[in-house]
């Protein structure tokens, strides 16, 4: 059907971004194809220690899922996106396909091994998330393709992660966010993944910040270098949410806090983490 309609048609998943964009006339699709009546597109399956999410799985379903809670950073994300009403409608597949620079899911899932299954008239292909998002609001999806599933590999034993997003109020996109996933062996960090959200055209993998921790004994000095590297990696724009300088400072602070939370979780501590807003 999409190949018949051409590239002016749009797919409607949860609609919590697309419908507001249409009202503002930023999106003007010739046709809207509602995916919500297709059954069996919303599921969370545990498989080989990983999780598979149907594209139309709602944030609220992930928030309530004990399976998703086994990877705590996923729960941090799902439970904090916008507000109850938006989480009841918005979907994980829609969030990734939308590729909004301020979206939460891409930032979080970049710290894990995540693959996006894309389904089109020529069959399906699996794309690593890092390759899936090309630019702001731009993915590798062809106009006759859709996201059918998101597959997340479970992090190794001894790994802990946390996602912190700062927003001015619940319903808005965050001003800045940081996702950190650390694999620890005692005090030594064996592996680190750090992604920054809302401070660039896409989620930014803060490679220098990761390198500042990887193989290191984690102490204040290592955390400070990671924080400084994260600030340097951020590429924020000044807008109504704050100046570029403010966002750069904020994202550093979020990285620092998320590192602390990730380490505590890696040690097996139960810590509740959520989006920060007034």
């Amino acid at each position: 059907m999409l190949s018949e309609l051409g590239d002016d048609a749009k797919l409607l998943a949860g609609g919590q971004s697309l419908i507001p964009l249409m009202k503002l006339r930023f999106a003007n699709p010739s046709h809207l194809v509602d995916l919500n009546f297709i059954s069996a597109t919303s599921y969370i399956k545990e498989e080989n220690g990983g999780l598979r999410f149907g594209a139309l799985t709602r944030h609220a379903e992930i928030e309530a899922s004990p399976a998703a809670a086994t990877i705590p950073i996923l729960h941090d994300c799902a439970a904090g996106i916008a507000d109850v009403q938006v989480r009841n409608r918005g979907t994980i597949g829609g969030s990734l396909a939308e590729a909004d620079p301020s979206g939460d899911w891409a930032t979080v899932l970049m710290t894990l091994q995540t693959e996006v299954r894309c389904l089109g008239t020529n069959g399906s292909r699996t794309v690593p998330l890092a390759d899936f998002i090309k630019d702001a609001y731009t993915t590798v999806l062809a106009y006759d393709e859709l996201v059918s599933e998101v597959e997340v590999k479970a992090p190794p034993k001894g790994s802990g992660g946390a996602y912190l997003a700062f927003k001015r109020s619940a319903p808005v996109y965050p001003t800045a966010s940081a996702a950190v996933q650390l694999t620890m062996d005692g005090d030594v960090c064996k592996d680190a993944a750090i992604t920054l959200g809302c401070v660039g055209l896409t989620a930014i993998k803060a490679k220098a910040a990761e390198a500042a921790l990887r193989g290191q004994r984690i102490n204040d000095k290592a955390i400070t270098s990671a924080m400084e590297a994260a600030r340097a990696a951020a590429d924020p724009q000044s807008d109504m949410r704050g100046s570029a300088d403010y966002k750069r400072t904020l994202v550093g602070a979020l990285v620092k806090r998320a590192i602390d939370l990730a380490i505590r979780r890696a040690r097996g501590e139960q810590v509740e983490v959520s989006h920060i807003y007034a």
């Binding site: 609609g15 109850v84 009841n88 319903p171």
Partner: protein, 162 residues
């Protein structure tokens, strides 16, 4: 090329009453409620998925009715503020909002009461934090949040007792 769809017939239940109606695909749920069904208790505040004044329940889940198309409610059950009162008796949540002075201008109140209804139908004894999180998507510009919060606590107590 599939033909342009004209009006679409849908069947749904609104406040327990079966409704058959024909709508334009572009019509928003809040427009169906207010303009076709005369249920004007559901308000339009920001019209940008921010304020929550248009919150209704769809199959028991709170949604912003300005951010859904009416055609998407085919086969569902919608609850609006008009559906809270039963046989002339105010719902425990409505009574608690009155008793706790949980409203001033009242514009955000219907949406807040439906967010409260989703919370209390799933969680009989919500914590302070759970109540605040449940209404985070409803904006009140009279800044009456503290009394709204107290109203939901009171409603929870009264619903448990009932």
């Amino acid at each position: 090329m599939p033909e342009i769809i004209g009006k679409v017939p849908i069947k749904l239940k609104v406040n327990g009453k079966p409704i058959s109606v024909t709508v334009e695909p572009r019509m928003l749920l809040v427009e169906l409620l207010r303009e076709e069904l005369d249920l004007t208790g559901t308000h339009v505040g920001c019209d940008t998925t921010y304020c929550g004044a248009c919150t209704v329940l769809m199959n028991g889940a709170a949604v912003k009715s300005c951010t859904m198309f009416a055609v998407q409610t085919d086969g569902t059950e919608i609850t609006t503020v008009e559906g809270l009162e039963k046989d002339g008796q105010l719902h425990a949540i409505q009574k608690a909002f009155g008793d706790s002075y949980g409203l001033q201008c009242g514009y955000c109140t219907p949406g807040l009461m439906l967010s409260a209804l989703q919370l209390l139908s799933r969680n009989k004894q919500p914590s302070e934090k759970e109540i605040r999180k449940a209404i985070a998507g409803n904006t009140c510009r009279c800044t009456g949040y503290q009394n709204i919060f107290k109203a939901i606590q009171l409603a929870a107590q009264n619903m448990k007792r009932a």
